[in-house]
């Protein structure tokens, strides 16, 4: 893999950089914040005087925040909305105001309604359904967008479709003004149709970075009288359980920090995992050596993992190991050897000593967390 030199390096020169020969500066800058700040002034505000129609986006918040997937659904609506159509975001569950509202603006929401009692952690499908039905009743949207996720929106969307017999597309992986498409037959076919009434979007089908922003005016949700009785008779929520990273089965983990033969100090690794709320994995050499239990082994003869982030630390990346991480979206390698096979697989590779980089990373994370609200 090639080394990328940041062509925009000049914009962020540090004294340090100036001392170096440009060609040898192999530091890349992946800072999105930077881009956003620079792009912001160019963004225009989408304003609507008298909207004639509405696109409704329904999504749950997760612990007060609206995740990227939901923002993508809002952005999709915002991109497809014409000048006379308002994008209304209906958020189920609490919203931690300021920051989140900013992200809803960035995603292009014109109006925001919040139903804080419908937290995704509580299983109350009938209540949720009747709540959104009455919201739909009053808002009369021309189309409904929802993220097809597992924190309740995918399921709620389908309940809605079934209940109102609406035309719908689910698992949508491609959308534009004229059509939607979803994968069929395990991904070997693409099924295409015109835009239906309800659209359940798969993650990453929409570029949520918009050239404009919405107003994200918070409007008072109309008081909805919810028929509570039905739900409590049928379903009884006994509560959530366990989310400690170390208890999560590797197959289920979303963030894995994995140790290879190049990791001398597993305590550092454990600290790093802790700082990142990640689960711990290992290469076979490490489990064979008895340094971590066999259940932590990732690879052809170990676990096949699907984490979105896989940090391979001191792992050479033998085929047998790579087989276990073929479905991981972001692979980050820390290795002292730039020619190790893992570098070819990784989306980001840091060449350096595992212990030192881990220590530095832990320190940076601690700093970042103190700084964070």
């Amino acid at each position: 893999m090639t080394t990328r030199i940041n062509p925009h390096r000049q914009a962020q020169v540090s004294a340090d950089d100036l001392k170096r020969e440009p060609a040898t500066i192999k530091r890349i800058v992946l800072s999105k914040a930077q881009i956003a700040v620079e792009a912001h002034p160019a963004k225009w505000l989408r304003t609507l005087s008298k909207p004639k129609a509405r696109l409704l986006v329904i999504a749950h918040s997760d612990r007060g925040a609206v995740d990227d997937h939901a923002l993508q659904a809002i952005a999709a609506a915002a991109i497809l909305a014409d000048a006379e159509t308002a994008v209304v975001a209906l958020i189920l569950g609490e919203l931690n105001d300021n920051l989140i509202n900013e992200s809803l603006k960035q995603a292009g929401a014109d109006e925001v309604l919040v139903l804080p009692s419908l937290d995704f952690q509580v299983f109350q499908p009938d209540i949720e359904l009747s709540a959104i039905l009455s919201m739909i009743e009053s808002l009369k949207p021309s189309r409904i967008f929802m993220p097809d996720n597992l924190i309740g929106d995918g399921s709620l969307g389908r309940r809605l479709i079934a209940n109102k017999q609406l035309t719908a597309a689910t698992h949508v992986i491609e959308i534009d003004a004229n059509h939607v498409a979803s994968a069929q037959t395990g991904g070997s076919l693409l099924a295409i149709s015109e835009l239906p009434e309800v659209i359940l979007l798969s993650p990453n089908t929409v570029e949520s970075e918009l050239p404009f922003t919405g107003k994200a005016t918070r409007i008072e949700a109309p008081k909805i009288i919810i028929e509570n009785s039905q739900n409590t008779v049928t379903y009884q929520d006994l509560g959530m359980q366990g989310s400690k990273a170390e208890n999560i089965a590797l197959e289920d983990a979303d963030f894995i920090v994995s140790a290879g033969n190049g990791v001398q100090n597993l305590d550092t690794l454990a600290n790093l995992a802790n700082a990142l709320s990640a689960s711990i994995g290992a290469s076979r050499v490490v489990t064979d050596g008895g340094r971590l239990p066999r259940s932590k082994q990732v690879g052809a003869t170990g676990k096949t993992v699907t984490a979105s982030t896989y940090m391979a630390i001191g792992i050479s990346g033998a085929v047998q190991h790579l087989q276990g991480i073929k479905d991981c979206r972001h692979v980050i390698a820390i290795n002292k050897d730039a020619s190790a096979p893992i570098i070819k697989r990784a989306d980001l590779s840091i060449i350096g000593d595992a212990e030192e980089v881990m220590q530095a990373l832990i320190a940076e994370i601690t700093k970042a967390k103190v700084g964070a609200p």
Binding site: T3, T170, S182, L190, E209, Q241
Partner: protein
């Protein structure tokens, strides 16, 4: 095993291997089947389609004692409903892998039969008139819920059951086709929209149209689209750590 459940039904669809295109069982449905078998010996296994489909042989090997085939895939919700009127518990997979794999069928069926429905189920315990399930939520979270029967349970792919493909069972089980005259072969209204298919290709991401400045294009080129394969081999450890953090932030993999 419990006696409290009178009748359990499992819906199985015909799968297809995404690479070879060979007919096979749909793993999700097989998990539902195994969950059913863990609850009772005598379960009703229903399939709408062709009884000759080799995929059904897989279900026999996976433990289906008998598969009842509804000989048409038209109007599937209504046709299935006619077979499921007296059922306490219906199990299905999350998503078929052949034809319309929208994951909508269980919802339409539950609505039609007025059943309670829980999705993403990884564990079931049965009690008198109700079941207690464990529901999958992302990031290792799980939720326990009791659901009154009759109910429809949609099984999550990470359900805690082991599938045993047992060749010898293929000879033990049987496949019987239900009489076609009982079923409605008209197109249902859910086929309102016309879907057409084409071979899979890389989907195109929806993005707002805009005129990019040269600078923006440059930024775009190095940020999101050009991801992957970046190698950092200089700088001090703090800088390296910073690059990792930046990466994690850019892709929203961390929230601090």
């Amino acid at each position: 095993m419990t006696d409290s459940l009178k009748r359990i039904a499992v819906l199985v669809s015909a799968g297809k291997h995404p690479v070879s295109g060979q007919p096979r069982h749909c793993r999700n449905d097989s998990l539902a089947l195994q969950m059913g078998l863990n609850l009772a010996n005598d379960i009703l296994v229903l399939h709408a389609g062709e009884s000759e489909n080799p995929a059904l042989q897989d279900y026999l090997a996976l433990g289906a004692p008998q598969i009842n085939v509804i000989p048409t895939t038209d109007n599937i919700v209504n046709n299935l409903a006619t077979q499921l009127t007296n059922t306490d518990l219906i199990l299905s997979g999350t998503r078929a892998e052949n034809g319309d794999d929208s994951g909508l069928l269980p919802y339409l069926l539950a609505t039609k039969l007025n059943l309670a429905l829980v999705a993403d189920v990884v564990e079931i315990k049965a009690y008198e008139n109700k079941i207690e399930i464990l529901q999958f939520l992302p990031k290792g979270r799980r939720r326990r819920v009791t659901v009154c029967l009759p109910a429809l349970v949609v099984v999550h792919p990470s359900a805690a059951v082991t599938l045993n493909f047992i060749h010898a069972r293929q000879n033990l089980g049987s496949i019987s086709t239900l009489s076609a005259s009982n079923f409605d072969a008209k197109h249902s209204q859910s086929d309102l929209k016309q879907w057409h298919t084409c071979p899979a290709r890389k989907p195109i991401k929806l993005a707002a149209s805009r005129t990019l400045t040269g600078h923006e294009r440059l930024m775009a080129a190095i940020s999101s689209k050009a991801k992957g394969g970046a190698v950092v081999n200089e700088g001090n450890n703090v800088e390296k750590a910073q690059v990792i953090l930046d990466y994690l932030r850019e892709h929203q993999l961390i929230d601090f």
